[in-house]
Assembly symmetry: D3
Homo-oligomer: 61 residues x 6
């Protein structure tokens, strides 16, 4: 509480994902005054043929 | 803006997914008057043992 | 199955929303071969102070 | 209607997932009076480097 | 962990929602062996003109 | 791309929400190297009777 979900196309490293989840957690603690242990972040990555912008899959952009 | 998410059981081809993401994007442009470059669509596919209808996993239906 | 979710900032009419949900349903039926009665669409609208692009709330853009 | 989504870190067996989806379906039928065939449940599992609690990935907790 | 989301059309009482959230929490504890204090459930209700089945809004079904 | 969703119980001010959305956007830009104009954040707030922890609604905790 709160819970944060990041929807992204695949391709980031574990290091990038760790950094993002840490910084988002810090942002929630700072702005909402939440105990960090109550903050969960999950990244939902899509294969490049399963996410599109402008109607064009990322596998073709 | 807006962003669209499709939750489905696995098993569709890249061609089917491309077609769906294109047609959903067109539907948003037509009805909401959005620039297509502002429309993202992501498909979240579940393995057949991770989605159920009527309490029965798709791996057993 | 599948289920579709549209995340948008508030401000569209019931007529626009009906049109979008109808066209998305048709897109699923056409591309995935689903019975339309198995397709659900839900629109999750945010107040303008609860959605941001580029870090700026829609209430200030 | 309704549709239920469970966000979890990976690592449960098919048997655990079947049991959870069955019990959640029963809970919806009992409390909301829904026909079970109208209830869908999908589990969205994250790799351990893609979910964090307290800013720390489950791959490191 | 895990977190559960229920997407439904509006119209249930606080009593029905309390019962559902309690029973879903119990289902997670039973099947996944989680501490109940680690289970969150959120219900996302849509106005009847913002959810459709078969392409028809619940305001017209 | 990516898109971020924050699920929370109601009760934060517009100022708190603006701050959170700004800081999350900055975190995505820093860690994923994204153009900020491609980052959207939406907060989905639940009434206190529609979110529970440990099976108990926030209206009763």
């Amino acid at each position: 509480m709160p819970e944060i979900y990041v929807y992204a196309v695949e391709g980031r490293t574990s290091e990038q994902k760790r950094g993002l989840m840490k910084d988002i957690t810090d942002a929630v603690v700072k702005n909402f005054g939440t105990d960090p242990e109550n903050v969960t972040v999950q990244i939902i990555e899509a294969p490049k043929d399963s996410k599109a912008k402008g109607g064009i899959p990322f596998s073709e952009r």
